[in-house]
Every structure is written in C-alpha cells, then in structure tokens.
Symmetry: C2
Subunit: 457 residues, 2 copies
C-alpha cells in the first residue's frame, strides 16, 4: 500500500480542466459543474460529450483524446457503467488528477467495479477524488466542481477553515450555512467512497496548506487506522484539527454501514484514539464550526479569566451562570481600570464582572469598556453580550469593535441576539474577523473548548 | 398581604389609554410608545404632556384629569421624581391599571420612593405593572406599550406562547428573535421591579387565558416563595410552564443582586422547588423557546418511538447518534409499511430507520414516506431531516409537509439546515405550525424534553 504526502494542488487551482459528461440540459450535473466553473474560475475548460457539438456557445469535444493541449484535471459526471472507459481515455491522455462524481459503485454493492477502477488509477499513478462525491471547492481560487447550482448552495467567502467531509449532502448543507452566516472557508473536499485517496491523504495535504489554519473533518469510518493516526498526530501538532465522527452510537453505526459502507467501529475506541492524536472531538456540526471560527480568528489568550461586558442586565446574569457552569474563571479588574471607567460612565453603570452598561448604552460606552479591558492585565478574554434592540446602539458598533479586535491583543468574543438588525451586525462582525454568536451558551462552551485546546486551566 | 387572581385583561385590550409623558421628540420613550400604539392598536388614546399642545397632529392633554372620558389604563414614562404626583392624578381620575416604564427606584437604591408608590397603588386597588420595565405586548390584539421602535424590535406574529420576563432587554432580544424566525407569541409581560404585581400574579392570570397554551418565565428571583409555589402547581396542571432562572450559580446570583435587586438564592433549592411544582426548567433561552414551540404546536404522541426520514445519509447517521445519546427509542416500521414504500421507491432508497430517500429525492418522495409513517402504529414521532440543497426539493415541500401535519395524527418535527432557501422553508413551515429546527441536536433534545413532559418513557 502506497502512502506518501500527495500534492493535491491541482484539485484546487488547475490550469486546464476537462468535464466529462456535459449535457446541454441545464439540470444535469455535468452542465451545472460546467456553468459554475465557466462563471467563476479562470482556466482552460473543456466540455466533453460525444453527442453535443457546442454547449452554451463553447466547443464540445467528443473525448479527452480530442483535446490537443495537456489537461491537468478531469471531472467525471456520467453513469457508472461508462466511468471505466472514460478513465481509460484519461490514462491515455495522461491526465494526472480525477474527480469522479458518479455514484453506482460499492455503496450499492458494486464492489467489483470500484476495485477495478482503483487498480487502474493506482497503477497509473493518478490521484482520484471520489467516487460518489459532491465535488470540491476552494473559496480563494473559486475552483468549484460541485454539482449544485449557486442558487441552491451559496458558496462561502474566503477564509482559513478547511472542511473534509465523507458525506456530500451534509457538506452541501454546511457550506450553504457558512455562506449565509458570512463565515469564511478555505478548501472543501467531499470524498464519498474514498476509492483511492482517503481522509488521511486529504488531512496530510492540508497540514502544509498555507490557506488552512483550522481543519474540520466529518468521517463515518477510517479506512486505514494506523495511517490515520500517524497523519492525525502530525497534523494536530501543526494546526487545530476538529473531528466529528458519524455513527458513534451502535444504532448510528448501523446507519453508517448502509450509507457509505463504512465500518463505524466502537465510539469509545475512536474517542480514545482521537484524544491520543490531539484531535478536538465534537458531537455536532454547529459545535464544530463554532470552535473552528474561534481558533481561526482569535489570538491565543494568556489565560482563561473572562470579563463580561453587556448592555442587558439579564444577559449578564445568564453569561455569568454559563461561565460558572463551564468551570471557566472570572476576571477581576484592576482597581485602576474600575476607577478609569467610573470617571467616564454615569453612576448607574455597574463596573464589576459583568460590566453592565445598562439600557441607554451607546457605541462609545462599549468602546471605552472594551478598550480598558484590553489594557487590563487581569483580563484574558472579553465576552461582549450585545443586545442591539436598545435605541442608542447603531451600526457603527461594528467598526468600533472591529478596530479594537484588529489590535489582536486579546480574544474578543461577541454574542448578539435578535432579529434582522442583530443578524446584520453579526454577519458584518464575522466577515471582519470578530467571532460572533447568536446565543450565550454556544459562545461560552466554545470558549471552554478553546481554553482546553490551549491548555489554559 | 393580598393575593387573589387579578384580572389583567385591560393590560392587553384596553379601550382607552393615556400615555403620560409624550414628548414631540420622536426619540423619547413616551413618543415611541404613542407612535406604536397609534399605528397598530385601535382604542381611544390620550397623550399627556403639560408642555405640548399637539403631538403629531393629536391633541395633547396637560393631565389625565383634563380628559373627560374614563381611562382604563395609563402608561407612565416620565422621570422617577415626577411619577408619584402623576400616579396621584391617576388615583383621582380613577384609572384602575398602570404600567410604569420609568426607572430610578429600588434598583438604584431608591427603596423609599418605590415603597411609597406601592402603598398608593395597593391602597387604591390599582393594578401596577413595573416599575423599571420594558412594557408589554399582545400579538393578538396588537396592544403594545414597549418603548422600542418596530424598526429595532420587530413584533412577533400571533401565536400561543406567552412570555413573562423580569428583564426588559432580554425580553426585547427574545421578541426580536421570535419575530425574525416567524415564531408565534401570545402575550409578553416585562415586569421589572415587581413593585406591586409580581411573577405569581402574571402566571396566575395566564392560567385561564385562552390565547396562552404554553407559559415561559424568565425570573431572577421569586418575591413570595409560598405564593409562587401554589400558583406554579396550579398552573402546571393546566398547561406547560417553562422556567429559566437567572443567577443559578453563585457568581450569577451576585450579578442578579445588582441587576434587579433580586435575592437569587440557592440554585439547588430552586430546581427542587420547580420540579416539585411541575415546572419545566431550562438552562438557556434557546432551549426555552425550542421546547415551547413543540408543546405549542404538536399533538401529544402515543409513545417515544422515533422514525427518521432524510435525504442526506450523513444527516441520518447524526440524527441516529443524537437519538441514541438522548436515550430515546427508535421506531421499527411494520413490514407492511416497508413493503408499500419499497413498491413506490427506487431500489437505492434505504427503507429502514433512518429512511434515506437519497440525494435525488423530490417533494413527493418525502410526502409518501411521511404519509406511510403517519399510518404505521409502530411509529410515534416523525423526525424529518431535510437538506434542501439537493436539486429536486422545491418550495412546494412546505405545502406538502403542512398538509400532512394538519392531520394532527403524530408529531412531525423538521430539521432544515442551510442558507437562504433553508431559512425560507423553515420560516414558512414554522408560520404554518410545523415545528422546524436549524440543527439536529436542538430538535432531538427538545423532543426528549417533550417526552419527559408527557411522561413517555
């Protein structure tokens, strides 16, 4: 069995791409992929279909062999029985990288066909993503092999979290969600049946990828445990790796078996292995991306002493309860900080932990409080609970907090609860690298996981 | 100490309202309240201000005593030092119901002034909501005494959940959130310092309110423990009462003391009391409204055997894990149901638990699966995990699921994850009484709480 770090760059920034199976029917997968690529990605793109002359104005080739120039990557989206002949043509054309979207292999019991395919690509040293996958996406280069139109699956903005997902539909839902929330993404890989390349290869590749600060991984099973452990250990020494294992319960494992044919194995064994490898295990997708966003964006804090700043007394109390329940520590401001704030604030403002800026707080009151807390060495993390319904909070709060966050002195985590105006503030803050949450409980439990990761006890 | 059920109808559908302290400055609280009422509520409305002749075209009265007709309710939004003289005028005018928005009483140490006020209203048999509160709101009548403009705090649509909140800012954030999610609300009461009427009075009133199916309660402290327990026991026999206690930890209790002056007390004592009274205790606002929505909308299930229906294999696995972790039960379809579905579905569809309708599922495939599960006596609850990114799902899925849900045979709970299209589906389903969640974990833990409430083990 081969195992060396495989350079997957050409899956994210190929200079020439063939799409095998581009129909003129705009609802067909190949057509959607072709359209997405044509609209958003700059490269030589060759649609392949023996039955079409032109596709939306572009020359269509009967086979990759009819293309004169070299091709770096082929995307195959044709019925499974036609895949192997097409791959044989790719071999002849010396195309080194393949993405096979097509399903109809081992996941429906067609193990022979998949095994034959594996042998062909490995013998010819071809890198294969798939089969039975959604495709992949790079938010920086905008390379996109996903067969879902952008009207249905909005693509996220560029960021530094990469996501490897065994499941395609789940990956699609997550990407769509990230885009709507304005969270950033670097690379997305859906790998389906892992016919040749598997989760360990993708993980290994991302270790040295400069656009990846945090790696997220959804798996249902691991193909080669020893290889995975070695790669995972190496990876987690370089960057945070967050893992969600589908099928951690007995019933869930049964469901996984009929999904991607993965042997889910015992959850306790997996959890122990993940821990030993330094991976951050989570139990839901929301938890995964909450922690990922924090690790992507905030500076490492010096300790775990949290100061709450809020304009809602009740929210301050719930935040305090949440910090206590998570066994995190409360900051105790220097008396000098208290005195400085007391000079600037009206007497009703409560300068303690929480700092309660009360209902008539304006943006400037938040600015002052955060600034003074950034300068207080007794405070490690600033948790800002912002209720934007009160009348004196304006849109300028986004610029105010962003400027303070850009100083990169301490983590500033924001919770902003509410409707449209709150959503707008969250979305703008997130797009500017200020990590923002809808709810207190998610923010505090994510801060806890960050502190665990950095071993701040 | 008086204690009888107090009729608070006039706080939600008064026929005549005076607003004491309406300035011509549109940013002032009194003006905002006046505008909201004028725009949305049909009644005789009298703005009161000795210094203004007309307010946005309406005659302004120097005092309630200058109004000839009787007044059922007065809303007072003036500086605290002017409150008692104004209340004395209300006494003279025989106004039986008061909402005092003004702050500046016991919460800043001004206990004498608040005690004097309490004596005046109780001596004259006046019902008082407040002081130091946000106001109240009825989504059915559209009566609205909240001082936040609708541009900042959208009002929720009519529904059957009522929310009593000690904290105003927290209440505002929750209402704004409910509105943006298209969740329904019945009555909202923010009661601040509880100068005269307290949490028990409001709870007592809602027991017999026909527009209230579920009662939600955010409290920081209980003023009269014995009274509260009696009312809570009575209430929970009639309808579900969900309670969130701020200040359940030692640090949180300290924060509560400086917020509303409430003695938060020991959390263990509170939890034990809540349980004894049949209340559903939650630890966050999101949890509160997730459970409330379920209890508001779904029919009581016969048992706790859950069937998953999904179009995403990975999502089916995570759903299965979540059910297992929450110690809920899996339904096992009758063989007849399986056979009927097998006849209608393509062979790749997995007819088990989960039912995996796979990536090319259309609305009709969902309809058929849900319909057959509704008719299978081995299934109690249907958990539909819908990933709307796959191309054959259309907006018609909303009508399809609503129609099945309207039969009120079994609870149908939907999870729909993603961006704009998913949000649209969720919002429309929720507005039609189909309970819909963003994430699996929230849905399953809420189902668990419902099963506990109905004692389905």
């Amino acid at each position: 069995m081969r195992w060396s770090i495989i350079n997957l760059d050409k899956f994210f920034k190929p200079e020439s791409v063939a799409i095998i199976g581009v129909s003129s029917n705009e609802h067909k997968l190949g057509h959607v992929i072709f359209r997405n690529l044509m609209n958003n990605y700059k490269a030589k793109i060759y649609p392949i279909n023996p039955n079409e002359g032109r596709i939306v104005g572009y020359k269509c080739y009967p086979s990759v062999l009819a293309v004169e120039d070299p091709i770096e990557l082929a995307i195959i989206a044709i019925p499974s029985e036609a895949v192997i002949p097409a791959v044989n043509e790719c071999v002849k054309k010396k195309i080194p990288n393949l993405i096979i979207i097509s399903s109809g292999f081992s996941e429906i019991g067609n193990k022979k066909r998949e095994e034959e395919l594996r042998k062909i690509v490995e013998k010819n040293n071809i890198n294969l993503v798939g089969v039975n996958c959604l495709g992949n996406y790079d938010a920086h280069t905008r390379f996109d092999s996903m067969f879902i139109p952008t009207t249905r699956l909005k693509r996220p903005r560029p960021g530094y979290i990469s996501f490897i997902s065994q499941s395609g539909a789940l990956g699609a839902a997550v990407l769509d969600l990230l885009a709507s929330k304005n969270y950033g993404l670097s690379k997305f890989i859906s790998y389906g049946n892992a016919t040749s390349l598997d989760e360990s290869d993708y993980l290994d590749y991302l270790i040295t990828d400069n656009n990846t600060k945090v790696i997220c991984l959804y798996i249902e099973g691991v193909r080669d445990g020893k290889k995975f452990m070695q790669v995972a250990k190496k990876a987690s020494l370089k960057k945070p790796v967050i893992i969600l294992k589908g099928g951690v319960t007995e019933k869930g494992a049964q469901a996984a078996l009929s999904h991607t044919g993965a042997m889910a194995g015992s959850s306790q064994v997996y959890s122990a292995v993940f821990k030993q490898c330094g991976l951050i295990e989570v139990s839901s997708l929301e938890e995964m991306f909450n922690i990922a966003r924090i690790l992507e964006n905030v500076v490492k804090p010096k300790g775990n002493r949290i100061q709450i700043i809020t304009n809602g007394g009740g929210y301050g109390i719930l935040g305090t309860d949440s910090i206590s329940k998570n066994n995190l520590r409360f900051a105790e401001m220097y008396p000098r900080t208290k005195n400085e704030l007391a000079k600037k604030f009206p007497p009703l403002v409560s300068i303690s932990n929480p700092i309660d800026l009360i209902g008539d707080a304006d943006d400037e009151r938040f600015r002052l409080a955060i600034e003074k807390c950034l300068n207080d060495p007794n405070i490690d993390i600033i948790l800002t609970l912002l209720l934007p319904q009160t009348p004196l909070i304006t849109e300028n709060i986004v610029g105010t907090i962003t400027k303070l966050n850009d100083m990169k002195k301490k983590p500033i985590i924001v919770v902003c609860t509410g409707g449209l105006f709150a959503q707008k503030i969250r979305s703008e803050l997130d797009s500017k690298g200020v990590v923002c949450f809808d709810f207190i409980t998610d923010a505090v439990s994510s801060i806890k996981r960050m502190c665990e990761y950095y071993k701040l006890g």
